[in-house]
Symmetry: C2
Subunit: 98 residues, 2 copies
Amino acid sequence: MTIRHTVVFTLVHPAGSPEEAAFLDTATETLSAIGPVRDFTVSRQVSAKSDLQWQFAMVFADEADYAAYNDDPAHVAFVANRWVPEVDAFQEYDFTPR
Amino acid sequence: MTIRHTVVFTLVHPAGSPEEAAFLDTATETLSAIGPVRDFTVSRQVSAKSDLQWQFAMVFADEADYAAYNDDPAHVAFVANRWVPEVDAFQEYDFTPR
């Protein structure tokens, strides 16, 4: 069963800053290149009912692909080197068909 | 610019109950029939990092279609008659392309 993995987040960087763009560019390049990741997207969160500003979303074919992504050295390094220092707040959700 | 409107929520009904199924069925039938709504989906939220259990998602072509949905009598009635009494907690997010 496919799993749509999402995270909604806010960066420590000012909106529109070069640091914000660099984070989003690097994340896209790094995460979309990890083997099991399908349909990687970056979206702007625009509802006034949430303070979070961005979303990453990706699709995995199954739980094994999701686990492989989590354990991939490129993912682990991205989390340690970019996510943790540059993300101020976030919320994860994973979706499967009803 | 297309807008992906989403809401993640938990019902007052027990998981797997007929009342849960009836809510999801009625929501799907009612909301997907509103003119500007595209690609209506019901998904199960499965990440342990959130307590919310379900997601509705839909796509609007633009802000005018989103506003038309919000003001549609079928949407207003669904919110008053089903959403408010049967939803325990929720969080909305709207996404646009980066």
